[in-house]
Amino acid sequence: MKKYMIALAASAAAILATGGIASAQMEKVKACFIYVGPIGDFGYSYQHHQGALDMQKAIGADKVELSYLESVPEGADTERALERLARSGCNIIFATSFGFMDGTNAVAGKFPDIKFEHATGFKRDHPNVSTYNSKFHEGRYVQGVIAAKESKKGVAGYIASFAIPEVVMGIDAFVLGAQSVNPDFKVKVVWANTWFDPAKEADAAKALFDQGVDIVTQHTDSTAPMQVAHERGGKAFGQATDMIKFGPETQLTAIVDDWGPYYTERVKALMDGTYKQVDVWGGMKEGHVVMAPYTNMADDTKKLAEEAEAKIKSGAFNPFTGPVKKQDGSEWLAAGAVAPDGELLGLNFYVQGIDGELPKN
C-alpha cells in the first residue's frame, strides 16, 4: 500500500512537473495582430505586417500560426476586434497602434492567459500587457539635419496626424536636428487629423509647397506626399517604409520601422517559457529604427547625416539634449541635460522655433 502511495505521489509529481513545463513551453503559437490601417498602405501597417511575416519565417511557419485584422478603428471597435481574436485561440496579440491602448488593457483584463503587446503606448494595467515602441524621433533628428542643410528656402513642411506624444516628439526632434545646422530654420506643421487618407495627405503636401516650403516630411502613412514633392520639384522623406520607388529623385532618406526582430524575440520567448512583461523602447542602437540610404543630397549633407546617425547609434548622443527651450521661451532642458524617457513619452509641447499652436487632445 505504502509502495503504491509513493508510486502514485511520484507519478503525480512527474505529471505536475511535465505539466508545469508544458504550460510554460509551447510547441505551437498562434500570434495575432491588429492594424490601424490596411496592410496595403505601404507605410506603417504594412511595415508591422512585414515584421509579423519576418517573425513567422524566422521561427517557422509550422510553429507559428498568424492571424490578423486590418483597418481596425481606434476606440470602441478596438475591444470588439481584440475580443474576437482572443476568443479565436490566440496566444499572443500585438495591438499595433497608439489608439488601441485602452481597448488592449480592457480586453487583457478579461483574458489573463493571453499575452497582449501594445505598440507605442504606456499603459500596462495588467501583468499580461507589455508595451513596445521605437525611437522614431532618432531618425527624425537626422532628417532635420538633412532638411536644414538641403533646403534652399530655410523652411520645411511637416504633415502630422494626431497630437500624441510620439508625433510631438518627432516634430520636436526634427526641429532640434534642423536647428543644430541652422538655428533660424523654420518648420510649418499641418495637422491632417488622419493616419491614412492618401488624397488628404497629398492636399496637405500641396498646401505646404504652396506656402513656400521645399522639403516635406510626414507622420502619416501613405506615399502620396512623396509623389506631390516629386511633382513640385521638392524633396521628401519616406515614412515607415523605404519609399524610394515613389520618388527616385525625391526621397532624401526614410525612417524604416523594423519590427521583425522584436516580434521574433517575443514569440520565441513565449515558446521557450522565458516570456516576461516588458516595456521596450528600442531605437537605432537596437536595430528597430533603420535609415534608408541617403540619396538625392549633396555629399557634405550626406556626411553630416551619417555622422548624426553614428552618434545616435553608438548611444553617445540623445537628440533631446539641452540646452532646449520650450516654444514659449521657458527653459526645458539645461545645457547638457538629457530628457528622461518618461517625460518624452508624455511629451505635449513644442520646442522653440515652431510656428503655430499644438492642438489639444
Partner: protein
Amino acid sequence: MLESILLTIATAATPLLLAAIGELVVERSGVLNLGVEGMMLMGAVIGFGAALSTGNPWIGVFAAIVAGMLFSMLFAVLALSLATNQVATGLSLTLLGVGLSGMIGEAFVGQPGVKMAAIYIPGLTDLPFGRLFFGQDPLFYISLLLTAGVAWFLFRTRAGLTLRSVGDSHSSAHALGIKVIPIRYAAVAFGGACAGLAGAQMSLVYTSQWIENMTAGRGWIALALVVFASWRPGRVLLGAYLFGAITILQLHVQAMSVNEIAQWTGPFAFVPEIGRWLLGALKAVPTQFLSALPYLATVIVLVIISRNRRLTLINTPASLGRPFVPDR
C-alpha cells in the same frame, strides 16, 4: 499661390462631383444606391491596374468606367430585378467593393502608377490663371461637361422627364406604359460608370498610386452631396466645390503663419491687417474642428433644407428607395 490653391481645390472637388452627379441620376430614377464608395474603389483599382499594365491612363479610365458599371449591375440585378432592400443591398455593395478592390489590388501596392498629364495649350495655358482654365487634367473638364449634360438631360429632354417620372411615381409611370425597370437599370449603370470614373480620378490624377481603401470615405460624401444639393445638378457642383474649398483652405490656414501675412503681395496686399486678424482667429480654432468643418457644413445645410418641407417635396424623388414590383 492663389492659382495653385484653386487648382488644388478643383482636384479635390472633382472626384466628389463625378461620383455625386452619377448618384444624382440614380436617385432621380427612384433608386438609392449606397454602394458609391465600393464602386469608386473598384474603379480606382481596375483603372490603376489597366493604366499600369498598358502605360496608357486613358485605357485606365475606360477600364474604370466599365468596372464601375459592371459592379453596379450586381446591385441592379439584386435591387431592381429581385426587388431586395436597396439600403441593405447598397451597403453590401460597398463592403464587397472595399474587400474585393483590396484583394485585386494586392499586387499593385507599392508600385508607382501612371499619372494622367494635364492638358497644355500653347499661349492659353501660360496666361495668368491660364492653368486654371486651360491647363488641368482632362477629367476635370469631363466632370464639368458631365454636370452640364446631366442638367440638360434631366430638365430639357423628354427622356429626362421620363426618368424623373419613374423616380417620382413608378406605379403611375408603369400605368402609362413606361418601362420602369429598364430605365432604372440604365440609371444605375450610369451611376456606376460615374463612380468608376471618380475612382480613376483618385488613382490616376489625385494621387497616382493604388492603396487599399484609398477613397477614404469620399463615396459617402458624394451621397451626402446629392441630398445637400436637393437633387439639383447645379447645386451638386456648388456643394462639391464648397466641400473641396473648405478641405483645402483649412490646411492653408494651418500652414500659414500670422507674421507672413504682413509681407503678402498680390490680391490680398491691401488687407494685411484684416488678414492677420482673420488668420489669427482661424488659427485659434482647433484643427480637429477645422477638419470636421466640411462635414459639419453638410449637416447644417441638410438641416436647413429639410426644414422647408415644400421645397424638399418638390425636389425629392417620391419613390426614392422603394422597390418596384409590377403586378403580375
